[in-house]
């Protein structure tokens, strides 16, 4: 049974649960008034913002609910040629790491900032799974403002979950690895002695959102999977699910599925803070990038940090405790009261619910079943509140509606199951199409869920949309959970591969939007705050073009005297001061992307011309009726030629307004 592959389990499931959870098919699943409930009339706003992780596209997709309309793709860990993120000189530093510039990552989970356990609509945090990083996106601008890399980590999966006042964003390593101050060049069969599972606590500044890596906890070398902070009564604790307590290092699908129970690790982070203050940590020399985007200069900088403080869970006995949890737990979710901790064993046919109160008592009474690599294991019965029996097969994630109900996704039996937290009784089940991974209730992991809607993010789409060859769209399904029974309302396609998502009532975000940047506040070193200031400056083989754009021309719009071998930097300032008037900038043959410059902003595109000729440049954003006229040329001469550097705007001899200017050389 343990080694049966998923499809085997699937077949088994449909037999075992025949009649109870057999998918009913679309026709019966959608009720008559579904269309009305998702219809948002032209010109009307959606009720809710839905932030959906992009998975292997490395970005965050923003949808409106209940319509399922895509509003924006926010680039975080992947370059985005569409708006120049990762291509412009200003944003390149955002993707710097200790391994150098990385144009991609795998973005799994998102978490909105909270105050008192409720969403405050200020920031959203995102994890990078492959090269461990955590990012912060400002929800006033929908821009990535900060990315911090995580040392001693690999596979940053149980991240970026937060404490109830956004004191910390956490990150648990999915791959146990030797810490950075150890020699990593070791044989794989030395796993048990050399590999560690490190948990990071990233502090968040209350006012600015600035992150810093406050401390790490060195835990046994298991695979940390997901996590959630305690809230209310359990504030001060963090819970991490983990698998592979077998510490297998090959054919994990079999060898990491041997133990009947793995763990949820409870971390007393308030205690960890005390130990940190008392100087109990070990300073580990390492290197990790810390990248920040400064809105006043509109420029990102990357700094390489050198050190992190690591607390040992083995030595400091009362930070970490293991709660046995059946069958490779994945989801690790805490209910709105903070009392119940729900673990979802990927291979389990039940859902265990731990009680925080019982856990504290068990710790106090030392009800230990033993130790795992120096960490006390609490007795299963001592922390267990109860088990939801026969909920379905392959539970993954649980969210809450604030009315005493929990909703769990089931990958194998492909359904969402609603159950009562107190009685542990199953109340309702609805099929998903197909194989749901994460699910989300609006505000569903906070103290005060908004409820109303549940979205299932499915792993298999099959026949749900018009087919597009072997690579199909991804899919989300919207359910109305306001009544006793869940009602499927809508399918909508998503991009990349959605994992965890967050949603928040639109009112918390929509009125705070920055509409444009005040040009008077633009502190970009190459800003050009008016056409009169436009110029071209040569510094050796570097040429800086101080360019402006306004409907519907660039200044300057013609440049001559560039030579092969030059590095040309177009610093384009958008002079507009109105909402929704971006200008674009692109030049022929550039081995780079375009710029998309917001009003009042300055962006820089680097161009290294390879051949002599006349190279057109133009505005890529349809900015006005005369957008197509928004163009110019750059004349490139062979290396060593003596064409003088000149630039001009409107320089026709018969209506000269701006005379041809000779460029400045430094």
């Amino acid at each position: 049974m343990k080694i049966i592959q998923l499809f085997g389990i699937s077949a088994f499931a449909s037999l075992a649960f025949l009649g109870s959870c057999k998918p009913k098919g679309t026709e019966t699943a959608v009720s008559g008034d579904a269309a009305e409930k998702v219809y948002v009339a032209p010109g009307k706003y959606d009720e809710v913002y839905n932030f959906v992780s992009g998975g292997f596209n490395g970005q965050m997709n923003v949808y409106g609910l209940p319509s399922g309309r895509l509003l924006k793709v926010v680039p975080i860990f992947s370059v985005n040629p569409e708006n120049g993120y990762g291509y412009s000189e200003e944003t390149k530093p955002m993707l710097e790491t200790s391994h150098g510039f990385i144009p991609w990552d795998d973005q799994h989970h998102l978490e909105l900032s909270q105050t008192n356990g409720e969403q405050d609509g200020r920031w959203i945090f995102a994890n990078a799974n492959n090269t461990p990083r955590v990012a912060r996106v400002n929800l006033k601008t929908f821009r990535t403002e900060e990315i911090i890399e995580l040392p001693n980590s690999a596979g940053n999966h149980s991240s970026p979950f937060i404490t109830e006042n956004t004191e910390y964003v956490v990150a648990g390593t999915r791959f146990a690895v030797p810490t950075d101050d150890m020699n990593g060049d070791v044989p794989i069969n030395s796993f048990k002695e050399n590999f560690k599972g490190v948990i990071s606590f990233i502090g968040v500044n209350k006012e600015t959102g600035d992150m810093n890596l406050s401390f790490q906890i060195e835990a046994p070398g298991v695979n940390f999977d997901l996590s959630h902070a305690g809230k209310g009564k359990s504030h001060g604790w963090f819970f991490f699910s983990c698998y592979n307590s077998e510490q297998a290092n090959t054919l994990l699908e079999v060898n990491a599925s041997q133990n009947d129970k793995d763990f949820i690790m409870a971390v007393n982070w308030k205690k960890a803070e005390e130990y940190l203050k008392a100087g109990k940590g070990r300073k580990v020399k390492t290197q990790y990038a810390h990248n920040k985007f400064d809105e006043s200069t509109q420029t990102a900088t990357s700094k390489m940090e050198q050190e992190v403080t690591v607390l040992s869970a083995k030595e400091l006995k009362d930070i970490c405790y293991f709660m046995p949890t059946p069958k490779s737990p994945h989801g690790c979710d805490v209910d709105p009261t903070g009392e119940y901790i729900v673990g979802s064993g990927k291979l389990a046919a039940l859902i265990p619910v731990h009680s925080f109160t019982k856990m504290l008592k068990a710790i106090e009474n030392k009800e230990f079943a033993g130790e795992y690599d120096g960490i006390p294991i609490l007795k299963y019965e001592s922390t267990l509140y109860g088990e939801v029996q026969k909920p379905g097969l392959g539970p993954l994630h649980t969210e809450f509606d604030g009315k005493g109900n929990a909703y769990t996704s089931f990958f194998v039996s492909s359904e969402v199951v609603k159950w009562d937290i107190k009685t542990l009784k199953v109340l309702d089940r609805q099929p998903t199409f197909y194989s749901v991974g994460h699910l989300m209730v609006v505000g569903g992991d906070t103290k005060k869920p908004y409820g109303k809607y549940l979205v299932a993010y499915n792993k298999i789409t099959k026949d749900r949309f018009l087919p597009t060859g072997p690579e199909l769209t991804q899919s989300a399904q919207l359910y109305d959970i306001s009544g006793d029974k869940m009602k499927l309302l809508l399918d909508f396609p998503t991009f990349g591969e959605p994992h965890y998502a967050q949603a928040v009532p639109a009112s918390l975000i929509k009125d705070n939007q920055v509409k444009f940047y005040n040009i008077a506040d633009n502190k970009h070193p190459y800003a050009t705050k008016g056409e009169a200031e436009s110029k071209v400056v040569r510094q050796g083989n570097k040429v800086h073009v101080y360019m402006t754009s306004i409907r519907s021309h660039f200044a300057p719009d013609n440049i001559e005297g560039i030579k092969v071998g030059d590095e040309v930097y177009f610093h384009v300032t958008n002079l507009e001061q109105d909402w929704d008037v971006p200008h674009g900038f692109a030049i022929k043959g550039n081995q780079n992307a375009e710029l998309l410059i917001m009003p009042g902003e300055t962006c820089t595109l680097k161009w290294v011309p390879k051949k002599p000729g006349m190279w057109p440049m133009y505005c890529t954003d349809f900015c006005s009726a005369l957008h197509q006229e928004m163009q110019g040329y750059v004349r490139v001469s062979p290396a060593g030629s003596n064409v003088p550097l000149t630039y001009s705007l409107n320089n026709k001899a018969d209506n000269a307004k701006s005379p041809v200017k000779t460029a400045v050389t430094k």
């Binding site: 306004i550 409907r551 519907s552 507009e576 001061q577 006005s624 009726a625 209506n655």
Partner: protein
Amino acid sequence: MKNNSLSKLSKILLITSGIGLIISIFVPIWAIYLEAPQYPEGLGMFLHAHKITGDYEIINGLNHYIGMKEIHQEDFWEFKILPYALGFFAALAFLTVFINNKKWLYFFAALFLIFGVAFMVDFYLWEYDYGHNLNPNAAIVVPGMSYQPPLLGFKQLLNFGAYSYPDIGGWIMFGVGIILVVLSYLEIKSSKKVI
């Protein structure tokens, strides 16, 4: 002997007018609103006694397509005069009450009406100048088209709907004008009765 002193009503309304005119120095006098498909939220421009506020810079940006001149506060000599003119009329209102003479009221009324008409004529001329004096090299030249905003009310100008209305200060000025006319009429009537 004719009784030339003012009625109680006249005194009260004159003092009210004086206060109103002082207020009008500090509030917008005239408002121009523009609406277009691209500007569902509308663009507003407000003329005060001494300045322009609102979205006039955005309007300038849009107007360059059709070759309209840019609107700049410094170009209006009126802004230097208008606060004093309004102050002068407020003072005149109080003075009329103080002197308590119907002839002063008639004089004040006549002078204010001339001022009001002059204000509107001046406003019209500015609008005419902006609407007709177009750059011949503008990107968009529609033969025969001018862009003079309405003096009062609504007018469609290409894709823009333009509205022009008095704002608080303007309404006060209108009100003061009407009060002065009505008071003069009443005072003349009462003078004739006495005769």
